[in-house]
Symmetry: C2
Subunit: 383 residues, 2 copies
């Protein structure tokens, strides 16, 4: 039997979110061209270039972003049985404090309703196995700009009561000061207490200066910010959590890192070495607490990694660092469609990851099936 | 017989360089405390904090940096037969244009003389094998701030005539505009023509904002800039070279990347995928040339990686990306000494890398000996 395939990295802009973005005039926003062509999504500050006509600014945001039937067709085309959908970046980070709670509840309810409707349609009597239908589950979004972390905590608890929600998705800014901010402690506590998985995903990239300034960065289109800025952002964010002792204070926190951890598996050894050589930490005679648990231990007990790394080199590092039982297949749909693809084509961005997973393990190894879906079903309790 | 061990990542501040740094009052500079304690090296702008007394600013720069006998003792203690020494960062990047050539020649001659003297001392009749003595070779420094790239080209050619020089070391700023700067073409051409290996090493890190600002970055001492800033800088620099087509125009360029490539082996797949999905490149219908050769091909034909990555996770990625025949042992001496070490102790920063190399390969595999020294001897023609 073909293995169960679960996609844990797949984004949506549900109808309620599109409506909200259409009502905005500053990043992020959606603009509908006068000629009724595909709406434009202006998502990054660098996209919002006044020298580019509004009708061509940003990127096209077609039905694959907001029409769940397009995602279901994509799943069937690639043999995916189950998708754990999540709001795409930048989530709700930018909302005014007094709007955050209302939109979070509305959008999370919208996502829950979509999952319920699709699952009811594909299996009306709820008698089929996960292998034999398309099923949706979801990670919820958090009202991080709300006036108090209590509102975020309440939403985490409420999400736990929605039948198809399996955790939350979050960016790297937290409450605006990064993920080593002690004001996040109640939120980490609520995630731990409710046993909710946190899917940590980049959005903000690195300052333009890291790439030699905006002109140098944009010289190669989106390659530098997407290929490097995103994974480096994730690596910095989770390392700041580690250095601040978040995993010491919340040892049962479970975090799924996008793009196989950014670069965390590769850099784990260097991070650990630098910690052991840092005089500022109490363990070395300094006055800053510093992390108690090693990077390696955190990678094997708190961290899960998606397998969205497009090659065996990265996958081998991820497997060595966290273990094949903590690696989870994903697609990053609807991003990275084929540039010249025809409707119905397979996506190279997906087949590259399938190939890497198959190449990274011995054919007889159970790890392939685990990474493709078994791990996700077990960790997220999908059934 | 124990395998030959060659350290290709080991830095010096030769006497002429220390003298020059002592004559400066702006970063980088050396300050001699009034109480005759260890001189201080103020190397990064962030180290030059006026709120810290000058006598405590920066880091101690002890004899391990400038006294070659200390390095020879370090080599003996760790079983290293041969070291390929290189000037430590920030090299000569900061020199005024009219000083660059003079200092480059003086310092490179100083380094050549040190190698010659040591090798003459350890093997006066030149009859012993590399296994049975301590031998030094070196990478030279370049006068990159000189008024014309021709001066750099001439120094590359001159270095080729010095018996112990085996290539050059360079940072990521190039002529000030990064390594995708077309003005570097004559320099790439000279390196290719003279078959000189380029050792590419970070120094500048990332802008403070990448870490949440200076305060957030310094909260954990040097961990964030050293553990993450350095490797991310290297990754960005070499990716910009790739995207600008440097490896297409100079297909015989040979580059040794510090710290196992920063994070390049891990991110290679993502970089390649983003290139294939970038509309701006000619191959995808755009108007920017874009790279012709794949990241994977460049990793296996132009890139060498040191094995300074402190763990099997990173080493497995490096090996998968470039091959065990392109990985070279290194120590990063004199950086990362044991914090509470006694004279004569082994350094954990070195033993961690030894252990990773031994763990990454089967015991019977010839790759361990190749990574420890065989590759370096072959690639750098050491004898």
């Amino acid at each position: 039997m073909a293995p169960l395939i679960v996609d844990i990295h797949t984004h949506v802009y549900p109808p309620a979110y599109m409506e909200m973005l259409r009502g905005r005039k500053t990043v992020p926003y959606v603009h509908d061209p006068a000629d009724k062509s595909t709406p434009r999504l202006i998502i990054l500050s660098s996209d919002d270039d006044p020298s580019i006509p509004l009708d061509q600014r940003g990127r096209p945001v077609d039905a694959s972003y907001y029409d769940i039937d397009v995602k279901l067709a994509f799943m069937r085309r690639h043999g995916i049985n189950c998708s754990v959908i999540s709001l795409a970046n930048p989530w709700l980070d930018f909302l005014a404090p007094d709007e955050a709670q209302t939109w979070a509840e509305r959008i999370n309810n919208d996502i829950e309703a979509t999952c319920a409707r699709v699952n009811q349609t594909t299996d009306p009597d709820n008698t089929r196995t996960l292998h034999n239908k398309e099923t949706l589950f979801a990670f919820g979004a958090l009202p991080l700009s709300a006036p108090s972390p209590d509102i975020v905590v309440n939403e985490i608890k409420r999400l736990k009561t929605l039948p198809h929600l399996r955790g939350v998705i979050m960016g790297t800014s937290g409450l605006g000061a990064g993920l080593d901010d002690p004001r996040l402690d109640p939120i980490w506590g609520a995630l731990e207490e409710t046993e909710s998985l946190l899917f940590l995903h980049p959005h903000y990239g690195l300052p333009d200066e890291a790439f030699g300034g905006a002109e140098a960065m944009n010289r190669y289109g989106h390659v530098l910010p997407l290929a490097l800025g995103f994974p480096l952002e994730t690596t910095i964010a989770v390392t700041r959590m580690l250095l601040a002792g978040v995993f010491d204070r919340f040892p049962r926190l479970k975090i799924l890192l996008a793009h196989s951890g950014g670069t965390l598996p590769f850099l784990a050894g260097r991070i650990e070495s630098c910690i052991h050589h840092e005089r500022k930490f109490v363990a070395n005679g300094g006055d800053v607490a510093g992390p108690q648990r090693s990077v390696w231990e955190v990678l094997k007990t708190n961290i899960y990694l998606d397998a969205v790394v497009y090659g065996t080199a990265g996958l081998n590092a991820a497997m060595t660092a966290s273990g094949a039982d903590r690696l989870l297949f994903g697609t990053d749909h609807p991003f990275f469609p084929p540039l010249d693809g025809k409707e119905g084509d397979e996506w190279p961005s997906v087949t590259t990851n399938y190939k890497a997973i198959n190449d990274a393990f011995n054919t007889e190894d159970e790890s392939v099936a685990a990474v493709l879906g078994g791990n996700a079903a077990r960790i997220l309790n999908l059934k």
